[in-house]
Subunit: 235 residues, 2 copies
């Protein structure tokens, strides 16, 4: 019943599709076979779903997010979500995967930094503030803290992919700093969490208290580095 005439597709679902088609035609010169039209569009849909899920999960948390809303925001039918993701939880995990894991590469400090360890950590802190604390990724981190205990699979994944790797890299940097004489508290290598803690606090602060008391996260992290390295000479 209620056959919907062909206009159906152009109603809500089209924006992505049309631009996708246009882009693809422009981008595909006559020669070799690029990714097929279909596969490309499927990939774009998937992306749109993840982007929409990002907004919805951040705004409402896991349990309160409705997949109907995600679908509407993505310009897609609800069933389409299930073509790409097993269920709501899988969608959430995928979200963490795509939004956070790529950051590791950027956040993981180089093994042998060219300059001083302090400089490396300052760059690290800056990146963290820029890419996480002041963006919606920060909310995602908060969301993991919030939902982690109820979704052990997510907490496990996050620990494996982000926390353990990040801390290992941090530990390496600290040991380098100790070896070079920049850091004078050798036990710090056992607790790399200490180095990251203020950054995490900054993330949480931005979400909860920024309007009560704005926080200059970068300045705070610099002071923290002063503690670790002894007071800085210049800034």
């Amino acid at each position: 019943m209620s056959k919907i005439p062909r206009e159906r597709r152009s109603s809500a679902a089209t924006r992505l599709t049309q631009t996708a088609a246009a882009d693809e035609r422009a981008a595909a010169p006559g020669t070799a076979r690029p990714a097929s039209n279909r596969a490309e569009r499927a990939a774009e849909r998937r992306e749109a779903i993840v982007a929409a899920a990002f907004d919805e999960f951040i705004a409402r948390g896991f349990a309160a997010t409705r997949l109907d809303d995600v679908a509407r925001r993505a310009g897609v039918a609800k069933g389409t979500i299930y073509l790409h993701f097993k269920d709501k939880e899988a969608l959430f995990e995928e979200l963490v995967r795509t939004a956070i894991v790529p950051l590791i590469a950027r956040l993981a400090p180089p093994e042998q930094p060219a300059g001083s360890v302090r400089e490396a950590l300052e760059r690290f802190a800056f990146t963290l503030i820029q890419e996480v604390a002041t963006t919606r990724r920060g909310d995602l981190v908060r969301l993991i803290v919030a939902e982690g205990p109820r979704f052990p699979a997510i907490a496990d994944f996050y620990y494996r992919e982000v926390v353990s790797r990040g801390l290992a890299a941090m530990r390496g940097l600290i040991q380098l700093g100790i070896a070079r004489g920049e850091i004078r508290v050798p036990d710090l290598a056992n607790y790399p969490q200490i180095v990251v803690a203020p950054a995490m606090i900054a993330v949480i602060w931005k979400s909860l208290f920024e309007r009560h008391a704005p926080l200059d996260a970068m300045a705070m992290l610099r002071v923290h580095l002063d503690l670790i390295f002894g007071e800085r000479s210049a800034s």
Copy 2:
């Protein structure tokens, strides 16, 4: 469509509830009568509901908590909850409010330490680990982080009652430490968050990652104090 999800039904409307109704009646001293049987029992019921709600909300978060479960755990019928609280949201807010008060006593750093500032902070850290990180109070903190953005009233309350006071007291301690020459980074007084950050991380760690990598929180906090005060002489 775009119905507000069920947990937000009453949205911002839920201001402070008239929750103290039963208490007031019980406490009304005027009459010669001692606490009436009825009022006493009502107060007990109310307490039982709040206690049960505490467990359930901690374990499941706001959205996933069922009031049927709260009622069963409290040993009352579901309708009874609505005799004491306007709705689920009011119960949640009231719960956090009443649970925070005991937190304040535990979290507030001492205003004027008898001995050295380092000793005061070490005692503070110890208390924090004992009373918060390793108890359900820690979960309460996590709960505030989790639900805070969706319950601004709670985040406000928490900021006012716990965060701002705690940080003010901490700032006082830091300034004392600077004046006494124990602390050599004067900017630290501008960011008392730095001193508390590892403790917060410990709380979160216990909830999320303890089984992957157990954390000796007290040892970590001692190392952090080493950073702040210079290496300790003895342990």
